[in-house]
Symmetry: C2
Subunit: 345 residues, 2 copies
């Protein structure tokens, strides 16, 4: 068995995989199965950026300094508080002779593995970033391993837009798979908590295209109006996803009963019990938020005597990037939502 | 929609479910759908007991004092560090007029919902416990809600044994369900990390009875000898479950390739990546350990480009208690392992 997963890049502690490591070696010299990317832009994970922005009270210069500090110390953009990273965009600079990745020098690509395990060096001090957005213009280099996932950017959309889509492309692909699995047993209803966000709007779109009746649950009237205007869900409800009674009541009212599938796309802690209560017996909860607590989910379902299947939202499903890009092509409303997010709204 | 889930017992913060609450009210007066249990014995969650024992360097009196402090402060045995609890055994003392639970006054029962959401008062200072075992003789009372899960103790096994079985009864039931789901697509192989433990030995037994070829992965030669002598697995391998390369190599060697289903029953942090690497594409990882990190699992699978379904081990599957008791009846070797654990080995 071979493990083309970057073990030679792990500095500390020795012997763990890159994601678990405290520090990676981002040296530019390539191993035989590695690829070096010339970095153009980082896209920070939403939970990570929110934590940094809140910690520094919106002081962009302080956020920028902390990102530089993290990358300089750890050799990767791995937020030690949230445990999350993000992804990046760039150009293939060199390809090791034994790399299995389907890229060549000069390809403009996005990395679809987390920044938490991607060796990264930044050389421009992030001079082009004001610290106020998840999208970070950056110069430097990053390293991909043999078993990394990388996508060549589509010709028909701007890089920033494609990056924002790729960042959450696991959500619609897994939602599609789960909805189609349940569809063999009858009509499927889907509740998406955080339906107006990036992963949420794509999950809603995937669920509807897979034949489900959908409700998007959002936190504010502004989000409700946005999602209603976009027409991405059959129903839109307002509820605080952290309030189990409120969110499960809202879902039951919108769908006429609990959901077959509940998708959690809200990047705040405490949404586990509401998602469980909102889901029918025999149904499935997919947790995509990195703020999910494993023990709250496990003990919550047990404590509520809820016979629901609970999935850790795996960011990798074969073909996920192409699937998500296709959704954005097919739905102008989704594309408009993403363009607005990329523009900073 | 009604929520018979104990909302009236939540003191702080208001409006959350009992498991999420910092403090519950363990008053003995019952609501209409509640049941009061006269407590006989607590069974602490393995991760919780281990944390307390390690914190106090094996000083039983200090462990006892901290358990009393937690229950006195929180109104429940909810370890604030591990987030886990356990379960209890006792006798039904009073049944509210609207309780849907299938119990009557005088029934000797085990609660199958976590202690993290069960209002509890202790009245004997745990005088009968030396603080050196997960099994805690105790006097006091506990409260069950309408949607709690409770099982009347079987006549043919001691209460301590039944409690130890019930405590992990979600693991074999969910393992059985997942293995049977995969069996439609061909032969199934199952790796159980921590196969010599309580949940692990039951998961191995359930997997084999469901038709799978099995390997139990254990951490020491002593555990290997125990599990081999018990004959519960087709293969037994030694590997540190926290070392992804070691554990996945051991599983591949024992089974001739990665496992269709990997079950994580090791109550230490850091087992996520090994479980993912040990599992075949299209396979399933079931995380039963409360030490599981959600983000390590989600980002690990993404970073390893692993198309595996990852399940949060839901402690509730309909019929799980009867299923686990039946496994113990059918397998004298499992019963012997549990009896040894209960006796303190």
């Amino acid at each position: 068995m071979s493990f083309p997963v970057g073990l030679s890049r792990v500095v500390e502690p020795a012997g763990v995989l890159p994601q678990a490591a405290w520090r990676l070696d981002p040296r530019p010299q390539l191993g035989a199965d590695e690829v070096r990317i010339r970095v153009e832009r980082l896209n920070l994970d939403a939970a990570s950026f929110r934590q940094l922005a809140e910690k520094h009270g919106g002081d962009g210069a302080a956020v920028r300094a902390e990102v530089l500090e993290i990358v300089g110390t750890r050799g990767k953009m791995h937020n030690p508080v949230t445990g999350s990273g993000g992804m990046l965009i760039g150009t293939v600079d060199e390809v090791g002779p034994e790399s299995p990745l389907p890229v060549k020098v000069g390809d403009r690509v996005a990395t679809l593995v987390s920044l938490t395990l991607t060796p990264l060096a930044i050389t421009d001090g992030l001079a082009g970033w004001d610290g106020r957005s998840e999208q970070v213009p950056a110069q430097g280099h990053a390293i991909l391993f043999g078993r990394s996932v990388v996508a060549v950017l589509p010709d028909d959309m701007p890089g920033e837009l494609a990056l924002a889509v790729f960042d959450v492309c696991g959500a619609p692909a897994l939602t599609d798979r789960v909805v189609r699995g349940h569809a063999a047993n009858g009509p499927v209803s889907v509740a998406v908590l955080g339906g107006a966000g990036k992963s949420g709007s794509l999950a809603l779109t995937a669920a509807r295209l897979a034949g489900a009746r959908t409700v998007g649950v959002v936190v504010s009237e502004a989000e409700r109006d946005t999602l209603t205007a976009a027409g991405l869900a059959d129903e839109v409800a307002i509820a605080d996803a952290r309030n189990p009674v409120a969110v499960s009541s809202a879902v039951a009212q919108a769908l006429g009963g609990p959901a077959t599938v509940t998708v959690v796309c809200v990047d705040v802690p405490g949404c586990e019990h509401g998602a469980i209560l909102a889901t029918a017996n025999g149904g499935t909860v997919i947790f995509f938020s990195m703020a999910t607590s494993f023990s709250a989910a496990a003990l919550g379902a047990e404590g509520l005597a809820a016979d629901v299947t609970m999935l850790v939202g795996n960011g990798y499903v074969p073909g996920h990037a192409e699937f998500a890009v296709d959704l954005v092509r097919r739905s102008p409303a989704v594309r408009a939502l993403f363009e607005a997010r990329v523009a900073g709204h």
